[in-house]
Amino acid sequence: MGLPGTWPSDAARGAEERPMTDQRLPILKTWKLFMKGAYPRSESGRTLPLKDARGALVAHLSHATRKDFRDAVEAARAAFPAWSGATAYLRSQIVYRLAEMLEGRRADLAEAVRCTTGATKRAADDEVNASIDRTVSWAGWCDKYPMVLGSRNPVAGPYHNFSMPEPGGVCVCVHGVADAQPLLGFLSLVLPPFCAGNAVVAIANTRHPLGALLVAESAPTADIPAGALNVLTGDAHELAGWIAGHRDVDSVHAIAEPAIAGTLRLGSAENLKRVHVLPADEDFTDTDRWTNPRRLAPFVETKTIWHPSAT
């Protein structure tokens, strides 16, 4: 990947114009899941075909099962102490490093956006630029949001009292089946809980998963600790019930169609997950909205500490 002409979709597009003898048989990749820092196939062996914007087969995806999802949550839970316990300065540098790695894969990312959405080259480039810039912006929030969302409370008594936000634990990000902005949307959903210090299990967009999968491929090279970010591909409709019903998931951040949103909200009531679901037509290009620290507020818990300040 990465070199012009090696995308199966390009080969498919050019097939009818080329003599048979010139055609290089493209390598039809099966993208794998990203879990605990490794790239396993689905435990079930199930795959899904991935079609480009014209309907031609371009790759296969691992079709995550309930067991795969549960394994990913387990990996995230195990990684949470280290990720949330890392200094905010280190988390900030790791997320910035992710932006550096993505910058080096601009062409791949643009092609990933274009392949399944059919976006123009300019539109795809714009989305890649916005995505990398968004990553840089969120990198900067890691060591600042506690200042903006925390407070020192002037209680009426001899106590030192302050409130601090801290990450809630394991957050599942669901990118639904929407069409628009597969890369920018994915990062905009993942970065707020992730930068707050949550361990994330992200479900890539069902129809446009390639941007998310390239982020998954970049994560270990950015020194994201194994398990702190996990990426699954599959069918969001199928996964929604399992996500909502999982007792060791603390929060859900989703952009989803009403059916998926309903499943996520209703099932989550059982263990009182914090659920933040946005409608499928969310506009991720709104930079003010999507770099606002309030975006991570649903995924942090405010802890208030009292201590006497008089003897």
């Binding site: 409370n153 009182l272 309030r294």
Partner: protein, 487 residues
């Protein structure tokens, strides 16, 4: 503490003289609903009795609101919303300031009424419930015209009509806790008090009238569970706020999920209170008492699981027993009373059921205190269990009564792991004189409020609310405003 030869703090013959609160408070024989600024009879014409749990004497017949009344209240709140939310914020503030002042001025009457209706000691309603209720209105009054500074980068707007359902353990305080931020943010409210403790909410409605709060801005519909259900499931409600049990909280969460209604929940707890060997033990004993026997243990954040470092376990239990023997159980209107009446017959049965279950599971029960309990009313002596295993029901379930489970630990790791081993995450206590240990343990405890070398402190400026299944959202302080504002 000076110990007498008999092992009690004071000789048994040394009795306090009665010090009853002398103010007589008029209680109406029957009550009405407060809807659209009017006092109206309930649609069903049905009423239910509210009794004094310390005497079992009937206080009043409380109006039972039904779906029809809820409809009317929500409609009144909806009509009031536009003018109220469009009022200049500085004007809105002045109403809240007025309410705070009137609560302060009528504090004694409210405290007596609260104690008569709920059974809590007058010392607590006088020194905690009522002053804090006033502070909540006063604090939030000042927020009205400052909301844009409360939300970073936001454009705060009110949500609309709020449905608020509150419990019986702090009736007036919970009403203030819910109403003040909702009103400050420009919302209108339908409030449902708990069925055993409606009287101070009704008195508060009179104060709102005195303060000339526009009709419909606050509506109060009394009733039991069915009334609350009709309210939280009403299609005309934009936001639900509930304080109560986790069980009911989950049902409300499901109902709100189906409709996409905004929700904040302040639910149950089984809060750990951790005593390290290097703590100031005598102060910690007072903290344990304040943690579990405050308000007869009818406190969602009660420090009901006590973890004591093994090397001081014997000392702590001995001193605790001694201290408990000096707690005075009895007439809540007596200013010397430490522990008042259990709120209701049903709650007393629940608590006694847990005490029974604890003994059946093999825990050792300890109920120091020889003072005779009144013949009438609902009473439970302060109780603690030793020999408790983490799997025992008294160590896992919220009892909501004056019952403490005492356990020991050897290392800070063990204490923290066991403290966090619960679906709840409302509050926690930690006692040690080592500064670095205090902050390390506080950081690692999964709880919305961590009291270090203190317990059960509350303030209008300090956010309150839980992690995990203790609910979501905060009440109080700048964080509490978020639950009543749209971005």
């Amino acid at each position: 503490m000076a110990e007498s030869p008999a092992g009690t703090v004071f000789p048994a013959t040394w009795e306090y003289s009665p010090a009853p609160e002398s103010l007589k408070v008029e209680v109406p024989g029957s009550t009405k609903l407060f809807i659209g600024g009017q006092w109206v009879d309930p649609h069903s014409r049905r009423r239910f009795p509210s009794i004094n749990p310390a005497t079992e004497a009937s206080l009043s017949q409380i109006a039972e609101g039904d779906a029809h009344d809820v409809d009317a209240a929500v409609a009144a709140a909806r009509r009031a919303f536009k003018p109220w939310s469009k009022l200049p914020a500085s004007e809105r503030a002045k109403y809240l300031y007025r309410i705070a002042r009137r609560i302060q001025e009528r504090a004694r009457e409210l405290a007596v009424l609260e104690t008569m209706d709920g059974g809590k000691p007058i010392r607590e309603s006088r020194d905690v419930d009522v002053p804090l209720a006033a502070q909540h209105f006063f604090h939030h009054a000042g927020w009205c015209d400052k909301l844009r500074y409360a939300v970073p980068g936001g454009n705060p707007r009110p949500l609309g009509v709020c449905a608020q359902v509150i419990p019986w353990n702090f009736p007036l305080l919970m009403a203030a806790w819910k109403l003040a931020p909702a009103l400050a943010c420009g919302n209108t409210v339908v409030l449902k008090p708990a069925e055993t403790t409606s009287l101070t909410a009704i008195r508060l409605a009179e104060i709102l009238q005195e303060c000339e709060l526009p009709p419909g801005v606050v509506n109060i519909v009394t009733g039991a569970g069915a009334t609350g259900k009709a309210l939280v499931e009403h299609a005309g409600v934009d936001k639900v706020a509930f304080t109560g049990s986790t069980e009911v909280g989950k049902l409300i969460a499901k109902a709100c999920a189906a409709r996409g209604t905004r929700l904040t929940l302040e639910l149950g707890g089984k809060s750990p209170n951790i005593i390290f060997a290097d703590a100031a033990i005598d102060q910690a004993i007072e903290g344990i008492v304040q943690g579990i026997w405050f308000n007869q243990g009818h406190v969602c954040c009660a420090g009901s699981r006590l973890f004591v470092e093994e090397s001081v376990l014997a000392e702590v239990t001995r001193k605790l027993e001694l201290r408990m023997a000096s707690l005075r159980v009895g007439d809540p209107l007596d200013k010397n009373t430490d522990i008042g009446a259990i709120n209701s017959k049903g709650q007393l049965a629940t608590i006694l059921g847990y005490i029974d279950a604890g003994q059946k599971e093999g825990c050792t029960v300890c109920q120091p205190g020889a003072q005779a309990l009144p013949a009438k009313g609902f009473w439970c002596r302060p109780t603690f269990f030793t020999g408790v295993q983490p799997s025992h029901v008294v160590a896992r379930e919220e009892i909501f009564g004056p019952v403490l489970a005492v356990m020991s630990f050897r290392t800070p790791e063990e204490a923290i792991t066991r403290a966090n081993n619960t679906p709840y995450g409302l509050a926690a206590g930690v006692w040690t004189d080592k500064g670095s240990k205090v902050f390390d343990v506080a950081r690692r405890l999964q709880a919305g409020v961590v009291w270090c070398n203190t317990y059960n402190q509350f303030d209008a400026t300090s956010p309150f609310g839980g992690f995990k299944e203790s609910g979501f959202g905060r009440e109080g302080g700048v964080h509490g405003l978020a639950g009543y504002l749209a971005e």
